[in-house]
Symmetry: C2
Subunit: 559 residues, 2 copies
């Protein structure tokens, strides 16, 4: 047995076994030569599933989708050089989204770094702005050091695989040639699993009590990344407190009486209201108007995030509590007196009125909002709707009243990149429909290769308004009309049926929304539905809706 | 006049004017809201040309292409968030390729950083592993500081736009809303240009003289990024020294008597030869066999790179000289005695014999090498052949004997990413044919949008062997055959005619190379020629050729 090969094999087999031990089931590999030891190790592991993705940028977003669907850490593996750089978009997104993306880059050995050797960039700490933990591993040799480096660093890294410190980590592995491990050394491949340690924390509630014993409170719930939220509902029911539920909280689907889904429209209509306390749970919400309101209200705000780096946006909270939502509300119940039922009823009446306008809009209009609203109505609790950034997520915020579907999106940095791939990653474990605009769809078309290579079903609803629809709402439209279409409108003029043919997706095109609404679609499967919409019309109909909201009773009178 | 708007306008108009002053003609902008001030400023500048690219990853590679064609610095501008992360692949490539890519990222203002605000990632120094200069600019205000920060930092940054310190730089600009500059303030837009300072350096040649006065020398020339190389030819002619010319040196096209083009094949055939000194010029060469030889030969090596961070790969040189090739060889002429003509003649004879085998191969075979060889023969001095990494560049190394075409490639980190975009960027100023494999073509298909949006002509020859052809030459093929096709072969099974239709390119498909060779093609224009090849056949024919080289006379006898 060659010593180099045995050391190398032991190193990568041990590392991959450790990944499995700490909960990794899925690994996304992008082909390359330098990554041969890691790729072979994953492939030989008895339980790990490997997914081969030829584009590293999409591959990393694809892994994020698997994380979102499985709530487990997922590893990505690539070769040396710019391959690793292509991971940066998804690493920066998963850092903010707090997703356990385990980035494993293969590197040239030290003597080939920084000397002009091919496929060698400076990979050491290359994601430092966007990473929870990073380590440059040693070259494999016969010493204990090779394995100790894995064991000692995994203790630190795995803190970020689950719980309050979740986020991306980076292992950089230099490998010397020959790169082929000895597949017969399977004794180094272990398939034991670590028992999960549950994260729990209790705090002294005396400080908090003084803030939440007032009669007019509001709970705002954003994305909580799969947390059980049942105690929020109990608390709200007992104490008559309205819950403003972000679409990514996935609370709207419960159709619970106290859940307010229309706040974005109400605020756009001019609602201005001063509660006596606010409890914010989870990530910042989608609605810009709700965030603006949170910035301005004067009452105390309590932020509950199950994370050790809570996001204060949009305003520094009066108290920041690091614990799970259920733990918080279970303890809060005992210290909150029953609230003013009148306060809750006013919110509910207002919500009902707004719903009527929105329901009518979905029925009558023929714009993107109507597509989104009618789509959400058709979906069941078996469905996951993955929503693109820019306009689609805003429309879901407005037009999702109580859809049964699970709603998901990349709302860390809110990029339009990687959306197709994240949706496809989720599609491994969920029945996913993707709602996306044309520019974002274009940006990650390469992600569709996974649908073809791995027979992953996904239904894609592409709202094609031929350019960047969101820019219609921004100032250059009025102030620099001569530059608008070139710099912001950016029509792509692409006929996406060719994309459907390339990736062997079923394809239907609707020339307008009226035509789409006459169908009972979408049928689930590998389909691309392209719905042609109009940026100008969208802007006008949306603005008319928000105008109607101004007529709602009780608005501005709840103080 | 609103003070904020005036300060903002002055800031971005001044910055963009400074870019122009220091040689920037072209700016590639990816659409976004936060980047509005910079985009408008570029658009209003009287001389700057703007190129709008919807995918930041491809946009940055596209800019690299413009740099390669124009030999001028090019700026790229994007919005905040993951948009900036998408620049990383091209930034890391341009750092190693020493290309003046001016990365200008728009950022959220400081109060929205690191707090969970949307589209905010940690952009400060985010490219630190791959950048020559980086600065986080201040928010615009009425003080002198806003403009001083531009003026003082541009002095440092522009050192990297030209000359020995060339490479990418990063300006990060936080902007507060409102983002629209006042287009009437054109007095802040200047269109003066700085006179270029030419880089010159002379050194004491006494040290060098002792190494180069021996009778058997070799000159090896890699990519010198557009340098005038005429003095090398003069020197070689006077002193009877063979020039081993990398395809990216663009010396082979001269058909100069002393230029050896077949060294890669000769080394593969077993050539082993010991000169008395070697002068290496420019970037490391493509040929792995030449690099291996350079590692092993015992004679002194002199490295001439017009750069302040010379690449020692593949071996630490005896002396490293930081100056232009012409300056070096002009001085070297005076200190080198005339060399042994017999030595040069032996190289030439050997080269002639190898050429015969290669010529016959191009004529007779029906594999990728034959496509590459016959393509290169048809091209004229008006053509630029942009070559993909992995197999295409290796085939160009072997089969380009004396093509008149200019040869270009991304040979910093040798990634398969961004190749389509860099070729299209060059196509602004050159008549470009792209030679690329199917996996690399897939990786950057999004780059083709520029052909459509900006009517850029490019002829694409896609060698489709349905997967990663280069892996056939590596060890897992033999040692892990059960994993080979999944992990390394990675067939994509894509029919690229749909890509041609999507981007409105002419399309021709050849089911085999024999069919292709019967045509007089390629016709220049917006065409995609897809040539189906076979990984197994390619490997066999190539290996047979290198086998034949073993029979060449004089091999191993030149010592």
């Amino acid at each position: 047995m060659n010593t180099h090969t045995e050391s190398l094999t032991k190193q990568v087999f041990t590392f991959v076994s450790k990944l499995y031990e700490h909960g990794v089931d899925d690994v996304v590999i992008s082909p390359g030569s330098r990554s041969t030891p890691l790729a072979i190790a994953c492939e030989r592991h008895p339980h790990i599933k490997t997914w081969i993705h030829p584009d590293e940028r999409s591959a990393a977003f694809f892994a994020m989708g698997i994380i979102k669907a499985s709530q487990k850490p997922v590893a990505i593996i690539c070769t040396s050089g710019t391959a690793a750089s292509n991971y940066t978009p998804a690493v920066s997104e998963s850092f903010i989204s707090k997703l356990p993306l385990i980035v494993v880059t293969s590197d040239r050995p030290h003597e080939l770094r920084n000397v002009g050797a091919p496929q060698a960039i400076n990979q050491v700490n290359m994601f430092q702005n966007f990473i929870k933990f990073q380590i440059d591993m040693p070259l494999a040799d016969e010493t204990e050091g090779t394995i100790n480096a894995i064991n000692m660093n995994m203790i630190k890294a795995e803190k970020h695989f689950n719980g309050p410190q979740r986020g991306p980590v980076h292992f950089n592995f230099p490998f010397r040639e020959p790169l082929m491990p000895d597949v017969k050394l399977r004794r180094f491949l272990s398939s034991k699993r670590k028992t999960e340690t549950k994260y729990q924390k209790s705090i002294d509630f005396t400080n908090i009590q003084t803030y939440i014993e007032k009669p007019r409170g509001v709970i705002i719930v954003g994305d909580t990344q799969g947390q059980d939220l049942s105690q929020i509902l109990t608390y709200s029911a007992i104490h008559n407190i309205p819950i403003l539920a972000d679409p990514l909280s996935n609370l709207r689907s419960l159709n619970h009486n106290n859940i307010i889904s229309t706040y974005d429209a109400l605020f756009k209509g001019g609602l201005s209201i001063e509660p006596q306390f606010i409890i914010r749970v989870g990530q910042p919400v989608v609605s810009k108007h709700l965030n603006n309101w949170l910035k301005e209200v004067k009452c105390p705000q309590i932020l509950v995030q199950n994370n050790d780096t809570p996001d204060a946006y949009p305003k520094v909270p009066t108290i920041s509590v690091e614990m799970s939502a259920n733990d918080f509300f279970r303890q809060a119940q005992d210290v909150t007196p029953t609230q003013n039922k009148n306060w809750l009823d006013k919110w509910k009446t207002m919500d009902q009125e707004a719903r009527k306008y929105i329901e009518a809009y979905i029925e009558e209009e023929t714009d993107e909002g109507a597509v989104v609203g009618s789509l959400l109505k058709k979906m069941t609790s078996k469905d996951t709707l993955f929503v693109g950034n820019s306009m689609p997520i805003r429309d879901v915020d407005t037009f999702n009243l109580n859809s049964k579907a699970e709603i998901a999106a990349n709302r860390g940095a809110n990029g339009i990149d990687g959306v197709v791939s994240t949706a496809l990653g989720m599609a491994i474990y969920k029945k996913v429909t993707l709602l996306i605009g044309d520019v974002s769809f274009f940006h990650d078309m390469n992600g569709l290769i996974m649908s073809k290579l791995h027979d992953l079903d996904i239904t894609i609803i592409c709202l094609n308004n031929n350019g960047g629809g969101i820019f219609n709402y921004l100032s250059p439209k009025e102030e620099a009309p001569e530059h608008f279409e070139k710099l912001f409108g950016t029509p792509l003029d692409l006929d996406f049926q060719h994309v459907a043919h390339l990736y062997e997706l079923g394809y239907e095109k609707y020339n307008d929304v009226a035509e789409y609404k006459r169908q009972t679609l979408p049928q689930f499967g590998s389909y691309l539905y392209e719905i042609m919409t109009n940026r100008e019309e969208n802007t006008e109909t949306h603005q008319a809706l928000f105008g109607k909201m101004k007529g709602i009773q009780y608005v501005n009178t709840l103080r």
